[in-house]
C-alpha cells in the first residue's frame, strides 16, 4: 500500500492513514538499522537528488543515509558553489538535474512554497526537506514517531511546542501531524514570536512557559532562528533565556516527568540548558536516530508512485 500523495510536500496534505502507514514502515526500517548489515537492496534502480538551497547538517546527512541504506544512488547539490549564483532559475536547475535521469528530488529552500511550485512543473516525486517558514514534514513525522515510541498512541496526549513558533517550519508541520494523530497541541513563547490567529488552527496559546510545561506531557523546544528575524523581536538572548529558556530547576519544580525534544541545532543556554538537553528526560538523539528510519519509509513509500514512462 503506497501513500495517497505523489510527493511529500507538507503534512497538511497527508491523510492520517498515510502517517500510520509511514510509521509502520519505519518500524521495519528501524529494525533493519539494528542489523549487522544496515542496508537493503530495495531501491537499487532509483536515483535521488538532494537539492539544498539552504544550510543543513542533520536533515541532509539523514536523507543521504536513508537513501544509501535503501541502495539508491545519491547526488548532492548545494546552492553555494553552483550555477544558482550565476542566475539560473529553480525550474531550470532542477530540470537539468532531472535530465540526467534522476527519479526523486529532496529539496530544501528558503522560500515558503517552493516545493509546491516545483511539483507543478516537474514529473519526479518531490520530498520537502523544509521550505522557508512553512513546513518540514519529515521532521514532524520523526518527532511524532519518537513521541509514539515513548508514550504509545498519541490520541489525547498533550504536547507543547515552545519557542520561536513564528519562524519555525517544524512548528507548523508538528501541529498538523500531531492533530491528525489526535493529540492536543499548545504553542508557547513570547507574544512577538507567536503568529497572530494561530489559535484558528485549533491549538492552545500560552505565553507563560512554566504553565505550558505544567500542562504538557511532551515539550518540543524550538530553536530561536536569529537568521530569519529582520527586526528585533526580543531584547537580548539573555533575556529570552531568562524568561523562556528551559532549565533544570523548572523541570524539577513540576510534579511529573515530561519528555523533552528539540529538532536541533541547539542554542545551548538560550532556549534550552545543557542540564536539560543532556538529561535522560531528553530524547533529542533518539529523534536523530529515528529520522533515518522515517526518511527511508517516506522514500520507499513514494518510490512506487514513480512514473515508469516508456
Amino acid at each position: 500500500m503506497s501513500l495517497s500523495v505523489k510527493h511529500l510536500l507538507g503534512i497538511k496534505e497527508l491523510k492520517t492513514e498515510d502517517i500510520q502507514n509511514i510509521f509502520r514502515t519505519a518500524d521495519n526500517f528501524k529494525q533493519v538499522l539494528q542489523r549487522p548489515i544496515k542496508k537493503v537492496p530495495t531501491l537499487r534502480d532509483t536515483t535521488v537528488a538532494n537539492v539544498f538551497f539552504e544550510n543543513s547538517t542533520r536533515t541532509r546527512i539523514s536523507f543521504e543515509l536513508a537513501e544509501k541504506r535503501l541502495s539508491a544512488d545519491v547526488v548532492n547539490f548545494s546552492a553555494s558553489g553552483s550555477s544558482v549564483s550565476k542566475g539560473e532559475t529553480l525550474i531550470d536547475t532542477v530540470n537539468n538535474i532531472l535530465a540526467m535521469k534522476v527519479d526523486m528530488v529532496v529539496m530544501r529552500h528558503s522560500a515558503s512554497g517552493a516545493p509546491w511550485f516545483l511539483a507543478e512543473h516537474i514529473d519526479a516525486s518531490i520530498i520537502n526537506a523544509g521550505d522557508g517558514i512553512n513546513e518540514h514534514p519529515t521532521q514532524a513525522l520523526l518527532d511524532a514517531f519518537s513521541m509514539r515510541e515513548r508514550l504509545g498512541e498519541l490520541k489525547g496526549k498533550r504536547i507543547a511546542i515552545i519557542g520561536d513558533i513564528m519562524h519555525s517550519r517544524v512548528a507548523l508541520s508538528n501541529i498538523f501531524c500531531l492533530q491528525k494523530l489526535g493529540a492536543e497541541v499548545m504553542v508557547a513563547g513570547p507574544p512577538t514570536l507567536i503568529p497572530k490567529y494561530i489559535q484558528d488552527l485549533g491549538v492552545k496559546v500560552e505565553y507563560d512557559v512554566k504553565k505550558a510545561l505544567q500542562w504538557c506531557q511532551v515539550a518540543n523546544v524550538l530553536r530561536i532562528q536569529l537568521e530569519r528575524q529582520n527586526k528585533p523581536l526580543f531584547s537580548t538572548l539573555r533575556e529570552y533565556a531568562l524568561f523562556y529558556g528551559i532549565n533544570r530547576q523548572m523541570l524539577d519544580s513540576l510534579k511529573k516527568e515530561i519528555v523533552i525534544m528539540h529538532p536541533g541545532p541547539i542554542n545551548r543556554g538560550v532556549e534550552i540548558n545543557s542540564d536539560v538537553a543532556d538529561s535522560k528526560q531528553s530524547i533529542i538523539l533518539d529523534q536523530v536516530e529515528n529520522g533515518v528510519a522515517i526518511r527511508m519509509a517516506v522514500i520507499y513509500l513514494l518510490s512506487g508512485k514513480r512514473d515508469l514512462g516508456e
Partner: protein, 174 residues
C-alpha cells in the same frame, strides 16, 4: 475451484514433511527453520511445532523473514512489510526456508538475498507445501515438497490455515 488437500490430507502431509526434515537433520542442533512472511509463516509455525514435538527438543531455532525490501518489483507497487525476527545467528548453520506455495521462484530468490544479509549459512534448503511445477521463472527447486500440482499462470493456489482462515485446506482456483 478444486480441493487439492483437505483437512486430513493436509495434516498427514505436514507430518510427512516434519519427518523428512528430521531424517536429514536429526536433532536440529545445527539447523534452523525460517518461515517467509506473510503466508509461509503459517506453515512454518506448524512444521516447527511438529519437529519440536517429534524430536522432543526443548528448543529449536525458529525465525520469520520478511522479504518486502528485497523484492525485484518495487517500482510496480508497494507492499506493506511484516516483521522479521531472527533472534539467532545463522552463520555456519543449516537453514530450512519454508514457504506455502512455490510458483515463479522470485520470492525464494528475494528470501535468499535477505538471508545472506544475516550471515553465511552452511547450507540452505527449501520446503514448500505446494509446488506449482513448470511455472518457474528462475532456476529454483524445492528440497521438500508437500504436494505437486500442474497449473497455468491464470490459476491460483490458495492455502487456508485454521489459525487465520478457520479451516485447513489447499484449493486450486481457476
Amino acid at each position: 475451484m478444486k480441493t487439492l488437500l483437505d483437512h486430513n490430507q493436509l495434516n498427514i502431509t505436514l507430518q510427512r514433511l516434519a519427518h523428512q526434515l528430521i531424517e536429514n537433520h536429526l536433532q536440529f542442533n545445527d539447523t534452523a527453520i525460517i518461515g517467509i512472511q506473510p503466508r509461509g509463516v503459517l506453515l512454518s509455525d506448524r512444521i516447527a511445532a511438529l519437529v519440536q514435538k517429534i524430536t522432543k527438543q526443548k528448543h529449536i531455532d525458529y525465525g520469520r523473514l520478511d522479504i518486502t525490501f528485497y523484492r525485484d518489483d518495487v517500482s510496480q507497487g508497494i507492499h506493506v512489510p511484516k516483521r522479521t525476527d531472527i533472534e539467532f545467528s545463522i552463520e555456519d548453520r543449516n537453514v530450512i526456508l519454508i514457504d506455502d506455495v512455490l510458483h515463479t521462484g522470485r520470492t525464494i530468490r528475494s528470501a535468499m538475498d535477505a538471508l545472506i544479509d544475516f550471515g553465511r549459512p552452511k547450507s540452505v534448503e527449501l520446503l514448500v507445501l505446494v509446488d506449482r511445477r513448470f511455472s518457474r521463472e528462475l532456476p529454483i527447486q524445492p528440497d521438500y515438497i508437500g504436494h505437486t500440482v500442474d497449473t497455468i499462470m491464470t490459476q491460483k493456489v490458495k492455502v487456508y490455515w485454521a489459525e487465520q482462515d478457520k479451516k485447513d485446506e489447499v484449493v486450486l482456483i481457476d
